[in-house]
């Protein structure tokens, strides 16, 4: 040790604002929980109800006419997911590009970002209700609602991905005298393609799950069938539908992995 240790600063400074914020969050969570009146009796009763409910679900319904009804719903669900994903992905490309602040002037990015924010503002079910009012019951309303959701997600993330690309590669393509579209095709798209495929497949998965739900508000798909089964206390049919949806999502998951492997 040296005789005269120089006056040192602490090695790690405490972050008081962050500590206080965490404390406040914990306090609010406890307060909110006390308002909800969660008691042991309710919990026990809940478990009893759940066991009764599950008991009525098994065995799952396998009646041919019911199965046919379910398959029709499932087909419509897949239809909604595929069409809305395809159109959503296609529309997101130009919108995301126009919203990227490193390639576009402010007067274009600003309205585009506003549009994307609007698409993201409401939950798909709320958007679906609006479209059911606008175009009537059926798959079209579901498709439109999920296109809006797809644009909100893919275009936003695509714009962010484009804002992170290396401009050196873009500069090199510009230096060859390439017109704007060639700069986009060669300088920009290769840099974001893998991420774009990732967003697109994720959104397809999301659309598939959400297309099972928009049916509840009459926007087509298996959701309508499922909701009807609920209301008619047809719980064994409900289980069949739930199992079918799980299978559908798993197939989609496998498909996504294959697609991502194609674009590495």
């Amino acid at each position: 040790m040296t005789a005269a240790t120089p006056a040192r600063q602490p090695a790690f400074l405490p972050n008081w604002p962050a500590r206080l914020a965490w404390l406040a969050l914990a306090a609010y969570a406890l307060y909110a929980a006390s308002l909800l009146d969660v008691t042991w009796e309710r919990f026990v009763l809940g478990i009893e109800n759940a066991i009764k409910f599950i008991g009525r679900m098994v065995p799952p319904e396998t009646d041919a006419s019911k199965m046919q009804l379910m398959m029709r719903g499932l087909y419509e669900t897949i239809e909604i997911a595929v069409i809305s994903s395809a159109l959503g992905i296609l529309l997101s490309l130009p919108i995301g590009l126009l919203a990227s602040r490193n390639l576009m002037p402010t007067w274009i990015t600003w309205p585009m970002r506003l549009f994307i924010a609007l698409c993201r503002s409401f939950h798909q079910v709320i958007v679906a209700i609006i479209f059911v009012k606008a175009v009537g019951f059926g798959a079209l309303a579901g498709i439109l609602a999920l296109i809006v959701a797809s644009i909100g997600f893919i275009a936003k993330l695509l714009a962010e991905a484009i804002e992170e690309i290396s401009l050196k590669q873009v500069e090199a393509i510009r230096a060859t005298g390439a017109p704007f579209m060639n700069v986009i095709i060669y300088g920009v798209m290769p840099q974001v393609l893998t991420r774009f495929v990732g967003f697109a497949t994720y959104q397809f998965d999301s659309n598939l799950r959400n297309s099972t739900m928009v049916g509840i508000v009459g926007a087509g798909g298996i959701g309508g069938t499922m909701f009807a089964a609920f209301q008619k206390f047809d719980y064994d049919f409900l289980l069949t539908i739930l199992l079918a949806i799980i299978a559908l999502i798993m197939v989609s998951e496998a498909l996504q992995n294959q697609i991502k492997r194609l674009y590495q």
Partner: protein, 262 residues
């Protein structure tokens, strides 16, 4: 092989820079009214300390950087005044090699080389990779010249630095340029590869009879390969003459101090 198009009068200068001025911030010029004439042949090396405007000078020539004032006459046409299509058409006649190669990492070597033709191939064809057969043949020939023909279908990010710069040179030459610019082409490379890259660039330029303007930090490399040296300091030209005339006294004037000279 497609040869570079030559202007009618081979004696006329390829490039005339007149009173070129660049200010990134108002009132703080990086280039102070430079005037330089470049002949239609030869290797010109621009040397000088970092931050003295060498890169800005090179980038003003093909307008990757916007000049504040002055004229850049490329075969008589003032590039500084061009806009839109006319600017793009001027750019395709000027090839550029970059310090960090600036290859599109996720595209293949062949796609990178062919991107030198993007000023000529319309977007849909470029997207579908429908290049004219003559371009594809020329690209293979160039890849052979730079020694990377077996890498044609490899992705650019799989290559080493020296290999990438070879692709960068091939891309620039693919434009059939009438002028080749190089912005610190060897600064990211090891000494041996640097020499190889310079040799490659010089030999291609001589064979195709195109002038080269490059900026370079490495004075021995500049001496070895350049026919003319321009020394810059503080945004002005302090030496302009044949390589043989670059004395230690001049170098001191360009870089300041003398401790680094051996």
């Amino acid at each position: 092989m497609i040869e570079a198009q030559q202007p009618a009068d081979p004696g006329a200068p390829a490039l005339e820079v007149r009173r070129l001025r660049k200010e990134y911030r108002r009132g703080v010029p990086v280039l102070r009214d430079l005037s330089i004439t470049f002949a239609n042949r030869g290797i010109t090396a621009v040397i000088g300390p970092s931050g003295t405007g060498k890169s800005t000078l090179i980038r003003c020539i093909n307008r990757l950087v916007e000049p504040t004032a002055g004229e850049i006459l490329f075969h008589g046409q003032d590039i500084a005044k061009l806009r839109g299509r006319a600017l793009r058409e001027a750019r395709r006649r000027i090839g550029m090699v970059f310090q960090e190669y600036n290859l599109v990492e996720r595209l293949t070597v062949m796609e990178n080389v062919l991107s030198g033709r993007l000023g000529y191939v319309p977007p849909v064809k470029a997207w579908l990779r429908k290049y004219p057969q003559a371009d594809i043949d020329a690209a293979f020939e160039l890849l052979d010249t730079v020694g990377l023909i077996e890498y044609a279908n490899q992705r650019a990010d799989a290559l080493s630095g020296g290999q990438r710069q070879r692709v960068g040179i091939a891309r620039a030459v693919m434009q059939q340029p009438e002028l080749l610019l190089a912005d610190e082409p060897t600064s990211s490379l090891d000494p041996k590869t640097s020499v190889e890259i310079m040799e490659l660039m010089v030999s291609i330029a001589e064979r195709r009879r195109i002038p080269v303007i490059l900026n370079i930090h490495n004075v021995p490399l500049a001496r070895r390969f350049a026919t003319r040296i321009i020394g810059m300091s503080g945004g002005s030209i302090v030496y302009d003459g044949p390589t043989a005339g670059l004395s230690d006294e001049r170098l001191k004037q360009i870089y300041g101090g003398e401790d680094w000279l051996e």
